[in-house]
């Protein structure tokens, strides 16, 4: 098995966050986001930095997540929790596939159904994951700089249009907390690194690189929020299905540079590909741990077909999907990416202490 470096693993996480970060404005759909929301990623980032220390305590023990579950809770409970993780992973993959297909079908290919986009994505994901996570990691080394470069250029074009008076006053703590929780739902994808600990070479670099990665993602998200809220205003965002797309549509340099929004679609597709592949690989890794199957490659096709079958079942409209995201997947992400790993850490800590006391 070819291992990946910690830098590659963290680059995958940063690449994954782009797509949900752009979608993060769904927090506004419920009317609970306002002008102060641009500062929310800072709170989410600060919390994430604290959580990195918990993850570090788990990662330095050289056990992957399922081995941690087994160590902390024993075989039976760990199988139960593992199955819950697999079900959540399948549903998360399906909903991300749905977001990807819906975005493409409702922005550029409005005459075409979503099925064809799902079939293409499934095919590419299976092909890429056939040789393991290292292929995705190496691909992402090319994709992530492209995503960052194009986004930074787009945001730089938009920055002069920002109206700073739209961004103040910052007073609504309810809205801040609401949007920060939304941010945590995607920042928490960092926990997926724990699933692949045995496939990562230089684990000792996790703490430092993860903190830098989180700071970078936080600053990027703040810039994104400032640009979109500052350009459109919080009340218009509430009514738009894809606010970032709408903002980018405004960019034009005379007749020389127009319809730049096509770049955004490309970035979405690239980021969605990384996101869906990484979540699928993590879910299959955990499934392999539960069933003691070393090679889960043969399950790639049934796994993705199952996810593709679930895609139309997720919801009928964009607003139903936003509801699903806000009421179901964000809370589930917080439970599976923060609460359960923290409980695993606490149980493992006391078990270690008890073992130490016995040996003394």
């Amino acid at each position: 098995m070819q291992k990946i470096s910690m830098r590659q693993a963290l680059m995958l996480v940063v690449g994954m966050v782009f797509s949900p970060a752009v979608r993060m404005f769904s927090a506004f759909v419920s009317g609970r986001g306002d002008q102060s929301s641009w500062i929310a990623p800072v709170f989410a980032g600060a919390f994430m930095v604290l959580f990195i220390f918990v993850l570090w305590e788990l990662i330095k023990k050289n056990r992957n997540f399922y081995q941690h579950l087994e160590y902390s809770f024993g075989t039976r409970i760990s199988v139960g929790i593992g199955i819950l993780y697999v079900v959540w992973g399948i549903l998360l993959t399906s909903v991300q596939m749905r977001y990807y297909a819906q975005r493409v079908a409702s922005t550029i290919y409005t005459e075409i159904g979503m099925d064809i986009f799902i079939i293409i994505l499934v095919g590419i994901c299976i092909y890429a994951l056939k040789n393991g996570i290292n292929v995705i990691a190496r691909m992402n080394e090319l994709l992530l700089p492209t995503i960052i470069f194009v986004t930074v250029i787009l945001l730089a074009f938009l920055s002069p249009d920002i109206e700073t008076k739209v961004l103040v006053p910052i007073y609504d703590w309810t809205s801040l907390t609401h949007v920060a929780v939304f941010n945590l739902g995607s920042f928490g994808y960092l926990t997926f690194v724990l699933f692949f600990v045995d496939e990562i070479n230089d684990r000792e670099r996790f703490r430092k690189q993860a903190i830098w990665g989180t700071v970078a993602v936080t600053l990027f998200t703040v810039w994104l929020f400032v640009t979109v809220i500052g350009t459109l205003g919080p009340h218009i965002i509430e009514k738009l299905p894809y606010p970032f797309f709408a903002v980018v549509k405004q960019i034009s340099l005379g007749e020389f540079l127009q319809h730049i929004e096509a770049f955004v679609i490309t970035l979405w597709i690239l980021s969605d590909f990384v996101l869906i592949s990484f979540i699928s690989a993590a879910t299959l890794k955990l499934l392999g741990g539960i069933t003691k199957t070393q090679n889960t490659r043969e399950l790639l096709l049934p796994y993705f077909i199952l996810c593709a079958t679930l895609v139309p079942m997720m919801g009928r409209t964009n607003y139903e999907l936003e509801f699903l995201s806000e009421k179901v997947f964000i809370p589930l992400n917080l439970i599976f990416l923060f609460i359960i790993p923290f409980v695993v850490f606490v149980f493992g800590y006391f078990k270690d202490k008890r073992k130490l006391r016995r040996s003394v």
């Binding site: 099925d115 043969e298 049934p302 079958t309 079942m313 919801g315």
Partner: protein
């Protein structure tokens, strides 16, 4: 989606004929059965998870 479903059915039947190459047969069959079951529900009822949860929450 109907096209995909028919393709999946054919693929699973073909793959099941060579099951001896598969490391974890019960898991593979479980995936196939779940997919076919969900596919049939999907085609017959066109359900919506969000709509279902909205009624319960």
């Amino acid at each position: 989606m109907k096209f995909l479903f028919v393709f999946v059915l054919i693929w699973f039947v073909v793959k099941l004929m060579w099951l001896k190459n598969i490391q974890n047969k019960p898991l593979y069959i479980a995936f196939c059965v779940t997919t076919v079951f969900l596919g049939i529900i999907n085609l017959l009822f066109e359900p919506s998870l969000a709509d279902f949860l909205k009624r319960w929450m």
